[in-house]
Symmetry: C2
Subunit: 336 residues, 2 copies
DNA sequence: CTGAAAGCGCTTACAG
DNA sequence: CTGAAAGCGCTTACAG
């Protein structure tokens, strides 16, 4: 593998000159520049990043940190969708992406992650940090690495989705369509902060018209399609008069749609179902799913942009991104 | 950030000694070892990887390369599922994972990818290399980086899934169930080698009982759920007497199930539908999907194991992993 | 059993 | 406008 020195020899200049020409410093003769560039070309020189990293302290690597607790990265289309945004924006700025999936315990992330953070490999970190269990940020802050969290753990720089508003909008949509007997498919308590905010938003919308939110039947669907099916079976069995089901994510809503059909409900006439996230599948479900669009890729992109600004020493403010209700075929006025 | 030298000073030994103690070289007094370890502990020393990389040439980073052509990584649950296996096995061996998604053209991968390959950052590469357009491997081989391809491009080390057998099994399953009027939902020609092998397997199974494979109606579903819906509409409209639909992947099968229901077919009584991949959703679909289990995570894990063996200078042979038919509720004997 | 020193490939004040 | 030299943090023959 050719080095700077090889290029320097070939071009008949010093390594310092090559280095500076390559980093586009001004003050060089056209002649020198040309000589260097030609040598680079002929030799097929590409800078050795470890060498550069050692002298500059910059690696050009961003780590995306997705704690492994609930298999979120690989199981949740929403997370993958967000990762897509992270990838796009990093790629556009020439950064490489390291995928880190620390195993989380109540003591914090595992040793391997700690090592990575301290290794000097990373210019910055983008962390999904919504799990109450433990924050992935503690070691990151300790080492003082530039970091943007997507989530609710308290930290200086973060991107959040307006979960409260999303919850509010979706409940309001149901209520204004005339639904009053509404079941809610939730997640296990204290597993994800954003879910709590969605519930608060729903509660506010219900109470705005003096409805007792606490009285609405709720069953945990544990995030998954199967969980959504089970929760729906329970809800519709115990409360056959429900006219609407609100699910805290799209996957559970997909399960709800399937289960409701199995129980011979006409959708949306007998039962309206809404999800949350607007994962790609939501639109191609039959009936297509009314849901909250969190703009997952944009969350990822915004996080990268914020991180780059921090690395640039620019002034940065945390961001809460708006969400939008997407009305599709799975909801209507109650017919019964 | 503390360095080797800080540790050496604190322990009252040379940096060479610290380095060797840390890399577990024998021939050290218990006393020395203890002194060093204590200093490491107290200071909270973690090796700087760029420094180590520069002197050893090893970085501890593996790149997973998923060409971006058809958005495969982020759109295809099968690919994510495989990535999960790659991650597990890399993590287990202490390697970090770099996610590289080169943009592919017929000229080859983009410049940024080439740079990465030449950067000295990577100990090895695992590449998804099934796209006929161009191989991602050419620059990798040029730079002589250890590499395992998951796919059909010709290369020394590869992992393949036995697509031929999968195609054979699935067709045989349909035929032995008594189906003869079978429609096939394919993908656009020449977009993925493994699909060609599945089709060959199907053809062989059909011809084994003297059925004319070429005569079976085929429509491209373009990989997606929506594509599967459209293809199904076309097939069932033009050939209302079909009793079975074979889909080249699960996503299209999911679309097929939805569309068939929309067209008032009872599943599986009026129509049997099979997919391919056994993505996580396949089992929780209603009706649950008969499909070919490719053991996606195991493909990923096997690729990492093979890569580590290559890095270890061990003798390695390419591998074709078996697949298994998973019979679920979406198929039965033809009732009509 | 331990250490001095060179070297991995780059960049960056500093001097000229 | 260009170059000599030090230094980034580690490892590894080599010597003792």
């Amino acid at each position: 593998m050719p080095t700077l020195e090889d290029v320097a020899k070939k071009a008949g200049v010093s390594t310092a000159t090559v280095s500076k020409v390559l980093s586009n410093t001004p003050y060089f003769t056209e002649v020198t520049r040309a000589k260097v560039m030609q040598a680079v070309e002929e030799i097929g020189y590409v800078p050795h990043l470890a060498g550069r990293a050692l002298s500059t302290g910059k690696t050009g690597i961003i780590a995306v940190v997705f704690p492994y607790v609930y298999d979120s990265l690989f199981t949740d289309p929403f997370v993958v969708y967000m990762l897509q945004g992270v990838e796009e924006e990093s790629y556009a700025h020439g950064y490489n992406l390291l995928l880190s999936t620390p195993r989380l315990t109540s003591d914090g992330p595992d040793q391997q992650f700690i090592q990575l953070i301290h290794s000097g490999y990373l210019d910055g970190v983008i962390a999904l940090d919504n799990v109450p269990l433990a924050s992935v940020l503690e070691p990151v802050h300790k080492r003082d690495i530039a970091c943007v969290a997507i989530g609710y753990h308290p930290t200086q720089y973060f991107i959040r989705s307006d979960d409260y508003s999303g919850g509010f909008q979706i409940m309001q949509h149901m209520l204004s369509s005339g639904h009053r007997r509404i079941g809610i498919i939730t997640v296990p308590d204290a597993t994800n902060f954003s879910m709590d905010h969605r519930l608060s938003g729903m509660q506010a919308a219900a109470e705005a018209i003096d409805l007792d939110f606490a009285a609405m039947p709720k069953v945990s669907g544990n995030y998954s399609i199967e969980g959504g099916m089970n929760a729906t079976r329970v809800l519709l069995t115990e409360h056959p008069d429900l006219t609407a089901l609100i699910c805290l994510n799209d996957r559970m809503a997909i399960g709800a749609v399937q289960q409701a059909r199995t129980m011979n409900r006409q959708l949306p006439d007998d039962l309206s179902i809404v999800g949350y996230d607007d994962i790609p599948t939501a639109a191609s479900l039959v009936p297509s799913l009314t849901t909250i669009d969190q703009h997952a890729p944009e969350l990822g992109r915004a996080a990268v942009r914020m991180l780059l600004q921090i690395l640039d020493k620019r002034v940065v403010k945390p961001l809460t991104l708006p969400v939008h209700l997407v009305v599709r075929e799975s909801t209507s006025f109650p017919k019964s």
